[in-house]
């Protein structure tokens, strides 16, 4: 079957089996390998990305269900060559070791800070509690997110309006991501 969706601001389409998981579509067909896969049971959270602005475990979503929806992955956190404060926080506070859980953790963290710019430690722990890290013991992940909360990105004066953003996406469609 055919699916079309917006991934990191660009329209993409693919020919898929109806049973294909979104995590496999993103990784294997779009080559966006920052999103990882770590379990069979929706327990680990290494596959977390955003669908329509909400973090989801992409191993639990069929690619077909994402048809017509908007996907955002870790590859989209960096903007104009500048790391997102969450990315910078993970670097500054040593919030990662092997890096395997990190993209999922950062996508959840970004969402948390967008909705709660000054979360308490307990709120941070709650937000990432559906995701496993085997390396860090979580302490530095919590600190990384706290760092990001303390260092919000200074937005450029003219934030692109949705219309402008759409224009941008259209402009980019020339380099549309094809199906590999």
């Amino acid at each position: 079957m055919q699916v079309t969706m917006t991934v990191n601001g660009r329209p993409v389409h693919g020919e898929i089996e109806p049973r294909m998981l979104l995590v496999h579509f993103v990784r294997d067909q779009l080559g966006l390998t920052g999103t990882h896969w770590g379990c069979d049971t929706s327990n680990c959270g290494t596959c977390v990305l955003w669908m329509d602005g909400e973090p989801v475990k992409s191993c639990t979503v069929l690619a077909a269900m994402a048809h017509g929806h908007e996907i955002r992955t870790v590859e989209d956190l960096e903007r104009d060559g500048e790391l997102d404060p969450v990315q910078q926080g993970f670097v500054e506070q040593h919030g990662l070791q092997c890096g395997f859980c990190t993209p999922g953790m950062m996508m959840t963290a970004r969402w948390l800070l967008d909705h709660n710019p000054h979360p308490s430690e307990a709120e941070i722990r709650e937000a990432i509690s559906g995701q496993i890290c085997r390396c860090t013991g979580y302490a530095n992940i919590v600190r990384a997110i706290q760092w990001a909360a303390e260092h919000p990105r200074v937005e450029p004066a003219a934030v692109p309006e949705p219309a402008a953003a759409a224009g941008q996406a259209a402009e980019r469609s020339g380099e549309e991501v094809g199906v590999r």
């Binding site: 089996e17 049973r19 294909m20 496999h24 990784r27 294997d28 080559g31 966006l32 390998t33 920052g34 999103t35 990882h36 770590g38 379990c39 069979d40 049971t41 327990n43 680990c44 290494t46 992955t73 870790v74 590859e75 956190l77 960096e78 790391l83 990315q87 910078q88 993970f90 670097v91 500054e92 040593h94 990662l96 070791q97 092997c98 890096g99 395997f100 859980c101 990190t102 993209p103 950062m106 430690e121 941070i124 722990r125 709650e126 990432i128 509690s129 559906g130 995701q131 496993i132 890290c133 085997r134 390396c135 860090t136 013991g137 979580y138 302490a139 530095n140 992940i141 919590v142 590999r180």
Partner: protein
């Protein structure tokens, strides 16, 4: 945080700096095995045994072969024809690549399918028919040696039982005498249950056999790329120069990725058979059910002491469950790993231990999960026994430890099994941990809470690690001595590259090894590239596990860098036209003694060494050096941990309130990375003590085959850890470094367990302390946690 911000962003050597490798990881640009895509790549999947013990009577692959997307189906009988059905284990045994006669554990590899995509490969597994004749399984290690127990390894000629080995250490006669004379003796049985490292990335490989050049390139999740290359040469009969093993970014190892799994070999066979690259990635259930587990030690400990609490002797008997094949990954001559260190951190008169290994119908392995070759089990045993003794004597466990810890003047200390502890000030570390925790205040609080019926527990552990395997004359893996090579090369413009034999799985080698070179040469870590994980581009060595990277490879790099510095001195002497003896070193520069303004910086020296400068007789150009480091001794990191828990008396739920950890690993290359490693190990301890266990039912079904069943700690179970440090350099390492990767995993489980038992006032019950186990222990009916039996 303020101290963090005051530190220079990039130290010229040791000190806190953020990690160089993070730049790719936070952008989602890591390159893990499953990220690798090659043109024409096919996908493999493994069919696994549904039963733990059964004879295979028929395998029919015809339907799978007829699947339009299937390119090859491989079975044990096909491999037998190639003499590849069995491969050598890491411990004088053999392991089947694919089962031929019987399956011996649930999840064992039975067939391999290669197909166009990963979904089709899985579909085809469903089409393979296997007929089994079920055999009674041996699941309980304690029943494995019972008369009449089913013989698991009937493939071994003349084998009539499930016995693998007997091993002992220490002195039996003097120990028995000390026990006979003891005023107090406490005995306790305890199980360190089977657990699993469960790295977030499962195991996998991409094998690419180039038929034209005859060269195999093997990207795989390996902690030991060079050892794997040699083993592939030995197992598959491929010429070693035609094998390149690449370990790209690895999503956590913890010992899970030391061995060679059948899936790796099958990917190679698949690539040979199809002529295409083949990717094999196991799923989480396969990882948990079939790859290297850890522990499964059934221990009986006895401790002897005087009535006033001076420990005199320790005696231990262990039954070690090694699963269906003896495939523990430790130095060859050490069937029980480094369990020698079971006397821990204490000054005893005598000690003796015996370990017997047995086969059961469970997955093979045993040495994994940051265990430092069974030091984890040894530390758990002794730290539990000390608490049992404290309970018997009615003594405070901190006071009992303080009274018996080795004293600084006893180092180097030869323990009762003959190992030489390098250095330490143990009482200082324990006192520091007690001060950070506010130990005396905590005990007062505990007493008050008890009055109110609240269950609060304080648990201590003091551990001595032994890492950095190891001296070549004693230690090898399948005949490969455990020395490691390193090469340091300074480019003409003064930047450098260092090539390592070891491989990072998150330890941050690209940063810390650059810092080691920076410390020696005064070149910024940012200007030093660290090359690792690719056998075509790095010197030989045995890899990263057992906390050996810093003690062995780190020493190799330090010595190589020092050799570069020595060569730079000769070059500088030619540049400055003075005798080498008249030059003095300051970081990054040789200068003329007595005239510091005249000198040459390392960059200038590098350019001169590559230029036309006339060098003294016998000195070659360029600025580089190598070292193969053979450690003179193991190193002995140590630490004191204190855990505080609250137990809900109504539900048995344990909450870890505080966790204080004082570690001494010698000088710290990068304190931020050391602390991160300690955090991870403390979380492991919380996990093992409270939730992690691979239990089996009496039919041999694995009860921990997913993250719904095998529980690992989340952010909600782990507290903000409180760390402290003391620094005692090792005299047996060129920079005094001891290694730290596994310290906290080794030291933390007994601290948590001791805290829980302290809270509920029970002398002993086995991990993990799930609410059910706590509740049952409080009722005096603790569960047997390793088996689903009453």
């Amino acid at each position: 945080m303020t101290t963090v911000e005051e530190a220079p962003a990039v130290p010229m050597g040791f000190g806190r700096m953020t990690r160089k490798e993070d730049a790719r990881f936070v952008r989602g640009r890591g390159n893990y095995v499953d990220d690798i895509v090659l043109p024409g790549m096919l996908h493999g999947a493994v069919l696994r045994a549904s039963l733990p013990h059964a004879r295979i009577t028929r395998i029919d692959t015809s339907a799978a072969e007829a699947h339009p997307k299937v390119r090859a189906v491989i079975t044990g009988s096909m491999l037998e024809g190639l003499n590849l059905a069995w491969m050598p284990s890491l411990s004088h045994d053999v392991v089947p690549v694919l089962a031929t006669d019987k399956v011996r554990f649930q999840g064992q590899e039975v067939a391999f399918v290669v197909a166009d995509d990963r979904y089709a490969a899985r579909d085809a597994l469903e089409l393979i028919e296997v007929d089994y004749e079920p055999l009674p399984p041996v699941i309980d290690a304690r029943q494995a040696m019972a008369p009449g127990a089913p013989v698991i390894r009937d493939d071994i000629d003349g084998k009539s039982d499930n016995h693998i080995f007997d091993w002992e250490a220490g002195d039996r006669a003097s120990t028995d005498a000390a026990f006979a004379a003891a005023e107090v003796v406490v005995a306790q049985d305890m199980v360190y249950p089977r657990v699993h490292p469960a790295p977030m990335e499962t195991c996998g490989a991409v094998a690419d056999m180039d038929k034209v050049s005859g060269k195999l390139t093997m990207w795989s999740t390996t902690q030991a790329p060079h050892a794997h290359r040699t083993l592939y040469a030995l197992v598959a009969g491929l010429p070693e120069h035609k094998i390149r093993v690449v370990s790209p970014d690895i999503g956590g190892g913890f010992g899970n990725k030391v061995g060679i799994y059948p899936g790796y070999v099958l990917a190679i066979v698949g690539s040979i058979v199809t002529g295409k690259p083949v990717k094999w990635m196991e799923d989480r259930s396969e990882n948990l059910m079939s790859t290297s587990f850890a522990r499964d030690y059934h221990m009986h400990g006895e401790i002897a002491a005087t009535a006033d609490g001076k420990i005199t002797a320790l005696r231990v008997k262990v039954l070690a469950d090694h699963g269906a094949f003896n495939n523990t990954a430790q130095p060859t001559k050490f069937p029980a790993g480094f369990f020698h260190i079971f006397t821990g951190s204490y000054d005893l008169q005598a000690a003796h231990c015996e370990v017997s290994g047995v086969y059961t119908n469970k997955a093979p392995g045993g040495v994994a999960y940051a265990c430092s070759f069974r030091v984890t089990e040894a530390v758990y045993l002794v730290e539990r026994m000390v608490d049992c003794l404290a309970d018997e004597l009615g003594m405070d466990p901190a006071e009992l430890r303080m009274r018996n810890l080795l004293r600084p003047e006893q180092f180097p200390y030869t323990c009762k099994t003959g190992w030489v502890y390098d250095s330490g000030d143990y009482p200082r570390a324990l006192r520091l941990a007690m001060d950070i925790a506010g130990y005396e205040e905590l005990r007062r609080e505990q007493a008050e809470r008890r009055q109110r019926g609240e269950l609060m527990g304080i648990g201590l552990s003091f551990f001595t690690e032994t890492v950095g395997a190891g001296p070549r004359k004693h230690m090898d893996i399948l005949g490969l001595g455990m020395a490691d090579g390193a090469e340091v090369r300074v480019h003409p413009t003064g930047k450098a590259v260092v090539r390592l034999s070891v491989q990072t799985q998150g330890q941050g080698h690209e940063t810390t090894f650059a810092q080691i070179v920076a410390e020696q040469l005064g070149i910024s870590p940012q200007d030093i590239d660290v090359v690792h994980g690719d056998t075509d581009n790095t010197p030989f060595g045995l890899g990263t596990y057992g906390s050996r990277s810093t003690p062995v490879s780190g020493a190799a790099v330090a010595v190589a860098a020092q050799r570069v510095r020595d060569k730079a001195r000769i070059v500088a002497s030619a540049m400055l036209e003075v005798a080498p003896e008249d030059l003095e070193w300051e970081k990054g520069r040789w200068f003329v003694r007595g005239d510091p303004s005249v000198g040459a910086a390392i960059g200038e020296i590098a350019m001169a060494a590559h230029g036309s400068l006339e060098l003294p007789e016998g000195v070659e150009g360029h600025l580089d050096a190598e070292c193969v480091y053979d450690p003179p001794n193991l190193t002995y990191p140590f630490g004191a941990y204190i855990c505080v828990v609250d137990v809900d008396p109504g539900t048995g739920q344990v909450k870890v309130r505080r966790f204080v950890a004082v570690d001494d690993c010698g000088p710290r290359i990068n304190p931020m990375i050391v602390e991160g490693q300690v955090h991870g190990g403390l979380a492991d301890g919380v996990g093992m003590a409270l939730m992690e266990v691979m239990a089996f039912d009496t039919e041999g079904n694995h009860l921990g085959g997913s993250f719904m069943d095998y529980l690992v700690p989340t952010s909600l179970e782990c507290p903000m850890f409180e760390l402290g440090e003391t620094v005692t350099p090792s005299p047996h390492h060129p920079l005094g470094l001891k290694g730290v990767g596994e310290s906290a995993t080794v030291g933390s489980p007994p601290a948590v367990v001791n805290a829980v038992l302290d809270a509920i006032g029970v002398r002993h019950a086995d991990m993990p302390f799930t609410p059910a186990q706590v509740w049952r222990s409080m009722q005096g009916r603790p569960l047997r946690t390793d088996l689903a039996v009453e």
